[in-house]
Amino acid sequence: MADLTTKYLGLSLSNPIIIGSSGLCASVDNILDLEKAGAGAVILKSLFEEQIMMEVDASLREAYRNDMIYSAKSESLDYIDLHIRERTLSAYIELIKEAKKRLMIPLIASINCVSSAEWTNYANRLEEAGADALELNIAILPTDENTGADKIEKVYFDIIEKILSKVKIPVAVKMSPCFTNLAQMVKRLSATGINGIVMFNRFYTPDFDINNFSEKSSNTFSAPSESGNVRRWIGIMSSRVDCDLAASTGVHSSEDMIKQLLAGARAVQVVSAIYKNGKEHIQEMLGGLHRWMNEKGYNTIEQFRGKLSQDKNENPSAYERIQFMKYFSEIK
């Protein structure tokens, strides 16, 4: 029987399926169910600064409306953002502690960062609570016309430097695919001392409702077709980086997973497919991987991992072809 174990961020995983950061991993019961269903590891829902600010606003509004609560010159409301952040953080820490008590598989905490000044100071508390690793969900949408690329890139490095100085557990960075010099950025990130890079973050995209002239959310879940770009960059970078790579976005089937492993990923993160098909889907994907490995005669993942990465590919230039001239010209 094939051995599905893999190592990611120095952690031993029973198989390469990680349930990615999402509402799937927001309660102890859910996480335990995912473990039972066969997940190799779980990443908790991210702690979001933005969400805290929304809660702060709601709480302030409520305090000003409630004439029993003193709001005019209140010292406590003056610092309510810190107090609410602390409450959120305590709840998160409690989640880690409780989950760790009952969980056998690795538990990775996740923080959403848009600057180096927010959560970085709290990282060691997540470590103390027992998280096995930390994933930094660095989400910067470059909408400020006055901020140059160098400045945005620097935020990544500032965050990483701060976090690495605070914690000893492995750290992974979940990055955006939007960089002009993606290869250089990945390479530089991998050299900072982090243990892994997750390629890529998938941003929420607003859409328009053309009948009501309003905004609506779109495409909450990914489509399998989205995995192509991830596969390309994992393939290009897997042999060049100094850390592990995990694939995220568009991994829906065992075939998608196998392709990412062939490109060089050590693990895949799956979210949309679980939302759509339920946690039973984990077994289906693992079954597919098993069958394929048996068919191809592989006993371990390491025997084929990276087999189709750019440096091992017989046609390395295929990875860099973006126009597909020949291909398109033949379509009539």
């Binding site: 010292e75 406590s76 180096s116």
Partner: protein
């Protein structure tokens, strides 16, 4: 039914008020500049613990009272949370009838000497004064005058101890001896109840004693009020923690028929940043309590001294101002306020900010601590501070402080006091699961009766409002006493 506004109108039409109004032209009144409170010299007072403000003389008070126009529609009253008849008490001062003035105050305010000193008048009565609203001039010094009349009465030795109804034998318990609890006790004893106040600490008075320092509110003033209550028959049980020493249920078994929870908001909050557990980093609550109740300021006592030389106080409210000014008085070379917004946005009373500045406190606004460091003994010796800028407004309309990337710098400190707000004391709500609380941890009450979700249990003050003010706590106490009185009357009626 006669409304409050009818009563105010008919009082205003009384002959003495009418005469007084006519005795001086409005123009003359408005041309008098606002009185300046005599105070100790900043460089003297920052080395002693005596009161900073010295009080108005009779002449000053009368002159200031003349400024009041005795408006037809006295908007100042709407700014006072307990609706003191402000023009009437002020006109009594103008008239020279200081004791009458004090009596007017006491109709609605059980602690005028306290409120005159500590109310944030600039956002309450004085903010609503005609001078501010219409003339764009300095308001009548309502707070100074309130203090004047109350002090006059106290110093005259003519404090009237209110009459007490015949004892009805019904036992009521007041939990906490802060302004809310004292106000309940005062009214309930007047109405003939058998009142016992249970206080966790060894001193009576709540924040008035352990929080607000002597240089702002001398203990003697609070003691006079407490003595009055004692004379009227209120019993005080100190070192008695309801929920630990005995529960509400235990007290019920002892025959207490109604309860008032005025346990305040004494649970300190911290920023939870790295190093905050080092020694010599205190909550403002602990710092002030040590100094005020445990004689830490007195070198003859052996409570640990912690008169640091470089003291940083985090926060911008009254608690922060009290802590930082206390540190100066304990001999600090450098007393710093580190606050994340600008000075105008501080929640502290304007007068306290001004006094602190005069006393040599350094204001480091738009700054916030990010980490503390300690020496080999674990005593804090350094802090990392980050500069802030003001970003988008939040839903209260105030601009949010946002950290400035890469702006961190170090400050040498040997004592840090964290004064960033408090939470309601959780002991009583935790010991009574049937008591409904809000998301803020405050006890839910009916607005009119102050009764909680549990019959016979009333609450008010900071435990209901979150950290609030003395006058609100006292007003709640009086409202709760009324609610409790009605409740007990109907309960007896049913028996």
């Amino acid at each position: 039914m006669e409304t409050i506004s009818d009563i105010l109108k008919s009082e205003r039409q009384q002959a003495w008020r009418d005469e007084l109004r006519k005795s001086m032209k409005a123009k003359e009144r408005t041309s008098i500049p606002r009185v300046k409170m005599p105070e100790q010299d900043p460089h003297v007072r920052n080395k002693n613990h005596s009161e900073v403000n010295l009080g108005l003389t009779d002449e000053m008070a009368i002159k200031e009272a003349q400024r009041c126009l005795d408006c037809v529609d006295p908007t100042c009253i709407t700014g006072c949370p307990v609706g003191i008849n402000i023009p009437k008490f002020i006109k009594r001062i103008e008239q020279g009838e200081f004791l009458e003035s004090a009596k007017t105050l006491k109709e609605t305010n059980a602690l005028p000497a306290v409120c005159g000193r500590v109310c944030p008048q600039e956002v309450q009565c004085e903010a609503n004064c005609f001078y501010v609203q219409k003339l764009k001039k300095d308001p009548v010094a309502i707070g100074f005058l309130e203090r004047f009349a109350a002090d006059y009465e106290r110093n005259s030795g003519n404090i009237s101890v209110p009459g007490v109804d015949n004892k009805n034998g019904i036992k009521v318990a007041v939990i906490g001896s802060g302004p809310a609890g004292l106000a309940v006790a005062g009214d309930m004893i007047k109405w003939g109840y058998d009142v016992t106040v249970f206080e966790a600490l060894h001193e009576i008075g709540g924040v008035l004693k352990y929080g607000i320092p002597e240089f702002r509110l001398p203990n003697e003033i609070v003691d006079v009020e407490i003595d009055n209550l004692k004379q009227m028959g209120v019993k005080f049980e100190t070192n008695f923690i309801v929920g630990t020493t005995a529960t509400v249920d235990d007290l019920r078994k002892e025959g207490f028929e109604a309860f008032f929870v005025g346990s305040g908001a004494g649970l300190p909050k911290f920023m939870n940043i790295p190093g905050e557990n080092y020694r010599r980093i205190f909550s403002s609550n602990e710092y002030l309590t040590r100094v005020n109740l445990m004689n830490a300021a007195n070198p003859d006592y052996d409570t640990p001294v912690f008169s640091g030389k470089n003291v940083a106080v985090i926060g911008g409210g009254n608690t922060a101002m009290d802590s930082v000014r206390t540190s100066k008085r304990l001999g600090a070379d450098r007393s710093m306020i580190i606050y994340r917004r600008s000075i105008e946005e501080m929640p502290a009373r304007v007068e306290e900010v001004k006094h602190a500045q005069e006393e040599g406190v350094e204001f480091m606004n738009l700054n916030s601590p990010v980490e503390y460091f300690a020496d080999e003994k674990g005593n804090v010796n350094k802090m990392l501070v980050q500069k802030m800028e003001l970003g988008e407004p939040d839903s209260s309309g105030r601009r949010r402080p946002v950290p400035l990337e890469g702006s961190e710098y170090e400050v040498k400190v040997d004592t840090v006091v964290v004064a960033i707000g408090v939470s309601p004391n959780p002991l009583i709500p935790a010991s009574m699961p049937e008591l409904e609380v809000t998301d803020w941890g405050t006890i839910k009450v009916d607005k009119d009766t102050m009764q909680s979700s549990v019959e016979g249990i009333f609450a008010g003050g900071d435990i209901v409002r979150g950290g609030a003010t003395v006058i609100l706590a006292m007003g709640d106490g009086r409202k709760a006493a009324k609610g409790m009185h009605e409740y007990l009357k109907s309960k007896v009626g049913k028996k």
